[in-house]
């Protein structure tokens, strides 16, 4: 086996046999995905439930709007009781051509919605019954908007965060522990190029990032969470690779300055956690104040996150990769150059 291959295989084995790193690379981010996905994801059925008594074209038309969920009651009194008790925001009672609507005054938004829908339906049916051609016409058309369901932004966000996390930690901890344990010295005393050692380590990190991508997307796509990928998913691959190299470079810089594993993981956390919160990992950063957005634009994670969102759930094409890729390559080169300058073989 060549030095490159055997180093890569040694490090892969070391990684796969270490429960702690497996936990932090896969299970820990997955935990966030599951918890946030379940907490925020309960907005799947956002139809308003109203009580309904009787039958006829009005109720049929109301059901067809798709905005209301009708709960049948036998008598007007029973439906009225539901509203009085606060179980229903409103109840519709149809008796022949008479439509009665009672609504709870406490929830004005729900009441407004229900009143609007019901009166719209009644008006439309009246127009139809009167055989009148409407003077004004309304054309409503659905648009794919920028606001996403939680799982749609959580998955790319948590994936980017997990990649940054394992990239920085992987590089920093490997460097510090190898220096401390003199593995670096053993490598330095062998006729092997530093490029070989470095690239084999990066290859392991890239492999890890791809595995993270597969696992997280697979879990998020489960019906329970309901992620729907749009566009070409494979456009995420270059982002995973470039993100890994950028965060690996940051980890090398951390590892160059830290003497112990403890200080290295402290420093790595100090870099990653604020960056993750400001880059839209757990919530969309679009709602943040302007100055905070400006700050977040300086983070590589923000750009990786934007790119991931665009190609995974916003259905954008290869053009969405341009800016994130350029930023990540820039970070890799600049930070990597500094890390190489301050690199130390020994303490």
């Amino acid at each position: 086996m060549t030095a490159f291959k055997s180093l890569a295989s040694a490090m892969t084995k070391g990684f796969l046999r270490d429960r702690m790193s497996l936990f932090f690379v896969f299970l820990f981010p997955l935990l966030f995905l599951v918890v946030f996905g379940l907490l925020l994801g309960d907005s799947g059925d956002d139809r308003t439930k109203v009580g309904a008594v009787g039958d006829g074209p009005v109720l049929t038309a109301l059901e067809q709007t798709g905005a209301l969920e009708l709960e049948r009651y036998d008598s007007a009194d029973a439906a009225r009781q539901g509203v009085d008790d606060g179980d229903l925001p409103a109840a519709v009672v149809v008796e022949g051509n008479r439509v009665d609507l009672v609504f709870a005054a406490s929830d004005q938004v729900a009441a407004g919605t229900v009143v609007g829908i019901v009166s719209g339906v009644v008006d439309k049916l009246n127009l139809g019954a009167a055989n009148v051609t409407p003077t004004f016409t309304l054309e409503a058309e659905p648009v794919e908007d920028a606001s996403l369901k939680p799982i749609q932004y959580l998955t790319p966000g948590i994936l980017s965060w997990a990649v940054s996390f394992s990239g920085v930690f992987g590089a920093a901890l490997t460097l510090v522990s190898w220096r401390k344990k003199q593995v670096l010295r053993r490598i330095r005393l062998a006729p092997v190029g530093t490029t070989t050692v470095l690239t084999s380590r990066i290859l392991v990190s890239v492999g890890t990032a791809l595995a993270q991508g597969v696992v997280f997307v697979a879990v998020a796509t489960l019906p329970l969470f309901g992620l729907r990928l749009t566009g070409q998913w494979y456009l995420a691959l270059p982002l995973l690779v470039l993100g890994t190299t950028a965060f690996f470079a940051i980890g090398m810089l951390v590892g160059a300055f830290c003497k112990t594993e403890e200080s290295a993981s402290g420093a790595a956390n100090l870099i990653i956690m604020p960056m993750a919160f400001l880059s839209g990992t757990f919530f969309p950063v679009e709602n943040a104040p302007g100055w905070l957005q400006a700050v977040s634009k300086t983070f590589p994670l923000r750009h990786m996150n934007d790119g991931m969102l665009d190609v995974l759930v916003r259905g954008k094409g290869v053009e969405a990769l341009l800016v994130p890729s350029a930023v990540l390559i820039g970070f890799t080169l600049v930070v990597g150059f500094i890390a190489a300058k301050v690199f130390r073989w020994e303490d």
């Binding site: 086996m1 030095a3 291959k5 055997s6 046999r17 344990k181 010295r185 330095r188």
Partner: protein
């Protein structure tokens, strides 16, 4: 010394300071091919720094090192396959078995993975091939570490305190390994703070203290050169101190609670005189050791 052949290591007047501390202060020595050379001294004597300069891991402030005819500094990739350096017992890849460690380090030198099993056999770890490094005992890890230094079949082997922190049994096991390596014709340069061990293993030793070489020769020659008295120890009461002092050749005799100690520079006639008196029961003869050489050179008791 083999004379005609190029010496494996030539060190001339190397110096290295860390701030005000002169860690190595003008050290010179030559190691012949196939020689077992020991650098001895207490902690902080400058042994490790000297070794690291010779290996090419550190640059000397002054002086010159030639290793197998080449300059080891800066990193000389032509030289690296020909030297093997044993590092501290923890310098392994994480979570790999003994065999995998050897295969991985071997691959850095382009060595076939079959070598790993040969090395395990050499250091007596064949039955531990599948055991992960962190589950090995201290002595086993130390032997694995030496096997890693030898995996590419180097000509010169550097060992830095290979027997430190080992129990007596593990130390003796390791001595057998070191002798086996020398029997393969390797040149061994090794540091230790166990003077007794160096006396047993080394062809020649350099005694270092405070960054300087105080003496250098074969251990037996150094001890002989001391002209130190031999101590003959008898059971208490076997002889009175007066009677002991009366024996020809005895310089000193004194008694404590358990034994009578006689000092002499001519042990042969003293021993035969004791034999004539039939007082050989429980007799022990203690000759001078490298520790006495160290005491003589520095005026201090040797403390590892």
């Amino acid at each position: 010394m083999t004379g005609a052949r190029i010496p494996a290591v030539v060190v001339s007047d190397i110096r290295k300071s860390y701030g005000d501390l002169r860690a190595v202060d003008g050290v010179s020595f030559t190691v012949a091919e196939g020689e077992f050379f020991g650098i001895l001294g207490p902690n902080g004597a400058g042994k490790t720094t000297t070794l690291e300069i010779v290996e090419g891991l550190r640059r000397a402030d002054a002086g010159r090192v030639t290793l197998l005819g080449e300059d080891p500094w800066p990193r000389n990739t032509k030289l690296l396959p020909r030297i093997g350096v044993q590092l501290q017992a923890s310098s392994f890849f994480e979570k790999l078995t003994a065999r995998e460690q050897l295969q991985t380090f071997g691959s850095l030198y382009g060595v076939s993975s079959r070598r790993a099993d040969e090395m395990l056999e050499l250091v007596g770890l064949t039955d531990k091939a599948e055991v992960r490094e962190n589950n090995l005992s201290g002595g086993q890890r130390q032997r694995l570490s030496i096997a890693c230094a030898l995996v590419h079949d180097p000509d010169v082997v550097f060992l830095d305190e290979p027997t430190a922190a080992l129990d007596p049994q593990a130390r003796r096991n390791l001595w057998d390994v070191l002798r086996a390596i020398q029997a393969r014709g390797k040149t061994i340069v090794y540091t230790t703070h166990y003077l007794d061990e160096a006396e047993i293993l080394c062809d020649r030793v350099a005694i270092m203290d405070r960054g300087r070489v105080l003496a250098m020769d074969a251990p037996a020659t150094l001890v002989r050169g001391l002209d130190a008295p031999t101590h003959v120890v008898l059971q208490k009461g076997a002889l009175t101190t007066e009677a002991a002092r009366a024996i020809s050749g005895v310089e000193e005799a004194h008694e404590d609670e358990v034994s009578l100690t006689i000092s002499t520079r001519r042990p042969a006639p003293v021993l035969s005189a004791l034999a004539e008196r039939g007082t050989l029961d429980g007799l022990q003869v203690r000759t001078a050791t490298l520790e006495d050489v160290f005491l003589d050179l520095t005026g201090r008791e040797y403390r590892a």
